[in-house]
């Protein structure tokens, strides 16, 4: 009976009704193309085009063609170098800690905890919190005069009286990174936890029989098998961290003394505050190039297995 049905199916597949899939596929994809294409493709090309002109106003008009000048201007500018360094620092530090903490929390949530469901749902909460609310909350926690962080340090006799955590450039950058880590580690946990659950437990039992310690098993079994999950989540987090804007806007507006200005924030200011639309477009394209380079760099590192030892 099943055999018969399969035969019918085979004949059916080679018959005419399976042909013409291209047309159906096109018809099904067309709505997505319409929704995405006109508002994405045009701006991508338009930004690229604008990056070769000296446009200093949102109004239409004819502006001088300057070739690659906007790109050279960016590379010559010390501001651009500074904001790029900030972005790279933000990206590497936040991704490194999110990955490390994320793996530890995922291991914890995968261990035989009581009320495991409860602990897992706690981890979901920071992820769901809107970024702007997260930034506003931490700005309030760090507040020099009325902030709860100073009070907490005071209670444990660790100082902190009246200290303004967002007051000096480098410290502010680090404090913003902590706020980012607090929210975004959850995403890493989801991915690593999903990866952990695909590792068969008999691997560990076999390793144990062969005399492996839990720590050895972690490095020899868990980490190598997690590499695909780690790779995906690191790339996602890196790309996200490199374009960080929201949390900077709400917490520091790039200050103090441009200490927390990242490349996206700088681009935003150059474009919308100073109306350097041409220069801003070139900056935007440099962000795209950087993002691609970082993603490629990470993939290479992870393929070689260098990052396994670090994390």
């Amino acid at each position: 009976m099943i055999e018969e049905k399969r035969n019918v199916l085979e004949r059916f597949k080679s018959s005419g009704r399976f042909r013409g899939e291209g047309i159906l596929a096109f018809a099904l994809i067309l709505p997505s193309l319409l929704v995405v294409g006109w508002i994405i493709l045009y701006p991508i090309l338009r930004t690229f085009w604008m990056s070769f002109f000296d446009i200093e106003s949102p109004l239409p008009g004819s502006y001088p063609f300057v070739g690659l000048h906007n790109y050279f201007a960016a590379f010559k500018s010390s501001d651009f170098r500074m904001v790029t360094e900030h972005s790279l620092y933000f990206t590497f530090v936040s991704t490194f800690f999110e990955l490390t903490l994320g793996i530890l929390i995922a291991l914890l949530l995968n261990s035989p905890l009581k009320f495991r469901g409860f602990w897992r749902s706690i981890v979901v909460i920071p992820w769901a919190l809107p970024t702007i609310v997260n930034g506003a909350l931490w700005k309030w926690i760090y507040n020099g005069n009325y902030g709860v962080l100073n009070e907490l340090l005071h209670v444990f006799h660790l100082g902190g009286q009246g200290h303004n955590w967002l007051g000096s450039p480098f410290e502010a950058l680090n404090m913003v990174i902590i706020a980012d880590i607090w929210k975004n580690t959850s995403l890493v946990v989801f991915f690593i936890l999903a990866g952990l659950q695909t590792i068969p437990s008999d691997l560990y039992e076999a390793a144990k029989v062969d005399g492996s310690t839990p720590i050895k098993s972690f490095w020899n079994i868990t980490i190598p098998l997690l590499v695909p999950s780690i790779m995906v989540v690191v790339i996602l987090r890196t790309i996200d961290a490199f374009k960080v804007f929201d949390i900077i806007y709400i917490m520091t507006k790039g200050g103090p003394a441009s200490g927390t200005q990242t490349i996206s924030f700088y681009t935003y200011q150059q474009t919308f505050s100073n109306e350097y639309f041409g220069y801003g477009s070139a900056l935007a394209y440099l962000i795209v190039i950087f993002t691609l380079v970082i993603a490629w760099f990470y993939i290479k590192l992870l393929r070689q297995g260098t990052l396994e030892g670090v994390s």
């Binding site: 009704r17 159906l24 239409p60 035989p112 909460i125 769901a128 609310v133 009070e151 607090w182 374009k243």
Partner: protein, 284 residues
Amino acid sequence: MKPSRAYTIFIHVAAVLMGVVILGPFLWLFISSISPAKELISVPFHWFPSHPTISRFKDIFLQSANGENVSANFRVSMVNSFIVATGTTFISILVGSLGAYAFARLKFRFRRTMLFGFLSVYMLPPIVLVIPLYLIIANMGLLDTKLGLIITYCSLITPFTLWTMSNYFRTLPADLEEAARVDGCSRLGAFFRIVIPLSKPGLFASALFAFLLAWDEFLFALIFTSTTNSKTIPVAIAEFAGKYSSDYGLVCAGGVLAALPPVILALIFQKNIVGGLTAGSVKG
């Protein structure tokens, strides 16, 4: 094989520590939102207000919107956020699922190229798009409208729903559809009668992400909106928090309300999140 006592104690202590670090800031957000303004800035420090008040929430829900009233503007912005996020979710799921089915089941030329094309849109830094989009939306007369935001968000979020739904459709056995088609169903008939009813978990997960992405979005909303006509809640909060002499308790009250819909949704659909986010992404 029973875990040792020391190990059991260790993991539970670690879990409690994690819980404190995660829930602490949340609790502080809530406590600040019910503390009277005077107590928030008084010495000695108040860990819990001696006169807790829900007046800020009452103001947000009950005061009449007249442009200047921050509390009422929070409410109006919440409504805007709801309309924009719901509209975006609905459209991007509908449009994305159709395309996703083609990518999951049909054979056609440039299938992979197109799929990665859509995915790379999701990876693009929004700052690349925002400059010309601002000009386009301005030309269409859609600056400071909810429709302008919905259109923009749909184009940003559809690639995401397309990707997650296509991964989900691929996990369904193809036999069922083929059997239905042998029994005389058309491709589309099989899609609507067999595939869609089986895909409810995937649809819920994708819809949830779409909603959260739209609810959370800030950069486009900041640049495209200017009045309560279309300002979303992140923009309203950021604006008020940026004022020098603002009542931080009110920022926190707005924050509590803005956090509730996504947090509640995420807790309800928790199980779908992990599966939905990670499905197919690891295997490529």
